[in-house]
């Protein structure tokens, strides 16, 4: 198939995990939330050096929030379920 067979668009979605960048210590080498997530949806943003939710694939299970040593992570119920 040629490349033009699959045009795609980018859709926005409100994600359930918020990182308080003032508290997040990922820029000091912490990756606790990134490692805890069963779905591997958190990553360190290379521009800010802070953690962020990169994929909207959340089980709202909370290890990221419970294990964060800085209290920087908060998890909401995903909008579609709220």
């Amino acid at each position: 198939m040629s490349k033009s067979s699959f045009p795609t668009a980018i859709q926005r979605s409100n994600v359930p995990v918020t990182i308080d960048e003032n508290k997040c210590i990922a820029d000091k080498g912490c990756t606790v939330c990134v490692e805890a997530c069963p779905l591997d949806v958190l990553a360190i943003n290379p521009l800010t050096g802070k953690a962020q939710m990169t994929f909207d694939e959340c089980w709202y299970c909370l290890p990221c929030e419970k294990d964060c040593p800085a209290g920087a992570v908060s998890v909401e119920i995903p909008y579609l379920l709220r």
Partner: protein, 581 residues
């Protein structure tokens, strides 16, 4: 992207519940074995119990229950379709496992005399042991993995088992790293499959792909891998469907609130089932009530005393699915003030709750030499977390003994090339379909065509749709290794959907209440169908079903007991449709 080869003695795939236990027990059989625990997420927080567990659902504790009584209960709860030897092997080792977990530091509820505080939830016996402080269980398992020197690798996604060309014996597994897409060839003398349920099969009513009952990391990878390795699967038509808090999609009722006096009620606040233990028959009654004029169904706690409700909240908001409190807060729901709306879950495959899984014997051996299975994925009906630990133990011990006695089979280079090409293809295409979109459509079709009550023609149409989605798999496109993980999961989900349809079509009767309610074959037919339905890849490479006769029961079940689970409805609510509004 690199190709990395690694050789071990015992490979355990899945680091949730059964997997860590298997790895520890394999090392305890022979500390010289190289045992690798391979995990798709991170062993510290993976699987169905990533946030702990609030209780044991099937504790067989002397003085409260006997193994024989438990085998009878599960035989009846699963409408006679059990290999009793496997259930008995669980039951006989249940208490020893509780004591071992207790020594490891898992905290179970005890009464003032130090005896285990077992509660009655099942229809006949008494098997529920609360763990109000069960949130630490993963940490305790992790400590044992370190103590026993188990090698651990995280973020590796297993895609296929490696099977010897000549004797069909296990030789390891292929996997890839979901952050780098590096391809792994892991050679092993024996393999334990402990990848959990097929929890991303049906689409939750919310439409959110990851708002599943099961941890959505458990996408059915193991069911697909076992099938392609030539293993027999069993009872796939006995779907998992659970009664859950609507939209939140987490459990709440029977095991935790039941012993405190909470119960499942209709919109009038009336109890309509005698027993909240999850069974197909219970789900059938739940479904009837949900669809009736008395629906929907609610969890009723608002009649309980303040201190009781506080205790329930402490447990429910601290274990297993702790975000539940936030969900209720967001909706303005307080257990004290009103009943909480419930709904049924999407369908899944999970022997931990129902009976759908990879066929195993009482040593956790599958039909593939050298391959063992345990946990939600292995067909030992209603096995739950404690069953995962017990069978994880069996699987680890069996796998260690097999590795002691057998050499490593060479990996066929052609098999390796073909799998690497299949796995890397979505990354190498310049464009294609996004995995999430294909997954959404596939799982929406699962809901449309497979969700009980099952209809023959609908399931046939479903099979046609799943077949055409096979073509879509060939044009999946991944932008990065993470999306590649989702793409390969869609492959597994599609296999599970086809298995679910074929096994359901094969069994031309109704059984297990809602789990296999066939509208055009409404009666249970013991004359023809008191058998296991097995599914495998046949010699021609096609998905095929066949009957496997029941092994003679080792624990007889009397006629009165046999029908116990068919009498769950409370007689005064027998005809919900007829009740005046």
């Amino acid at each position: 992207m690199n190709t990395i080869e690694h050789a071990v003695d015992v490979l355990v795939i899945g680091g949730g519940t059964a997997g860590p236990m298997a790895a520890v027990k394999a090392k305890q059989v022979n500390p010289n074995l190289k045992v690798l625990l391979l995990e798709k997420a991170n062993v510290k927080r993976s699987g169905a119990i990533s946030m702990g567990m609030d209780g044991l659902n099937n504790a067989v504790i002397p003085g409260h229950a006997t193994p024989e009584q438990y085998v009878r209960e599960i035989t009846v709860a699963n409408d006679g379709i059990v290999n009793q030897k496997t259930v008995l092997a669980y039951a006989r080792n249940s208490f020893a496992m509780i004591e071992e977990l207790d020594r490891w530091g898992v905290k179970f509820e005890k009464d003032e005399t130090g005896d285990y505080a077992v509660k009655k939830v099942h229809h006949m016996g008494t098997y529920v042991l609360p763990m109000p402080e069960g949130h630490d269980i993963k940490k305790i398992l992790y400590r044992q993995l370190k103590r026993n020197r188990v090698e651990i690798t995280n973020r590796l996604v297993a895609t296929r088992l490696i099977v010897g060309q000549e004797d069909g014996r296990i030789a390891g597994a292929f996997a890839f790293d979901c952050r780098t897409a590096d391809f792994y060839v892991i050679k092993a003398k024996s393999v334990v499959l402990a990848t959990g349920a097929a929890g991303r099969l049906g689409l939750p009513a919310s439409g959110y792909l990851f708002g599943t009952y099961e941890n959505p990391t458990n996408a059915g990878d193991g069911y697909s891998m076992a099938y392609h390795a030539g293993a027999e699967l069993s009872g796939i038509e006995c779907f998992q469907i659970n009664p859950l808090i609507k939209d939140y999609n987490g459990p709440a009722c029977a095991y935790v609130t039941g012993p405190f006096g909470g119960y499942t009620a209709n919109s009038k606040g009336q109890r309509f089932i005698e027993c909240d233990y999850w069974s197909g028959q219970m789900m059938q009654e739940f479904y009837h009530e949900l669809e009736s004029g008395n629906g929907p169904v609610f969890l009723k706690l608002d009649h309980l005393a303040e201190e009781t409700i506080s205790s329930i909240e402490t447990i429910l908001h601290g274990n297993e699915r702790p975000s539940r409190g936030r969900f209720h807060a967001g909706r303005g729901i307080n257990y004290r003030e009103r009943m909480v709306e419930m709904h049924i879950s999407e369908i899944g495959l999970c022997s931990g709750h129902s009976a759908s899984g990879v066929w195993v014997d009482e040593h956790a051996a599958t039909t593939v030499p050298g391959l063992y299975a345990a946990g939600d994925l292995a067909c030992v009906p209603h096995n739950y977390m404690l069953g995962a630990f017990v069978y994880g133990g069996f699987a680890g011990e069996s796998a260690a003994r097999h590795a002691n006695e057998h050499g490593q089979i060479e990996v066929d280079p052609a098999q390796l090339d073909a799998e690497r090409q299949r796995v890397w293809a979505p990354l190498q295409r310049e464009s294609g379909l996004p995995p999430a979109q294909v997954e959404y459509k596939l799982r929406r079709m699962v809901n449309d065509y497979l969700q009980p009550p099952k209809v023959t023609r609908k399931m046939e149409i479903g099979l046609e749709r799943f077949d055409s989605i096979r073509d879509d798999l060939e044009v999946l496109h991944a932008n990065n290794p993470h999306e590649l993980m989702r793409a390969m999961e869609v492959h597994a989900i599609r296999d599970c959907a086809e298995m679910a349809a074929r096994a359901s079509l094969y069994r031309t009767e109704s059984r297990w209440g809602l789990y296999h309610a066939r509208v055009d074959y409404p009666e249970r037919n013991d004359a023809d169908w008191l058998v296991h339905v097995q599914l495998h890849k046949n010699a021609g490479g096609d998905m095929a079903c066949f009957k496997r006769p029941l092994e003679p029961y080792v624990i007889p079940v009397d006629d009165q007991e046999k029908t116990a689970y068919q009498r769950l409805r409370i007689s005064s609510t027998n005809t919900p449709e007829a009740v005046a509004p």
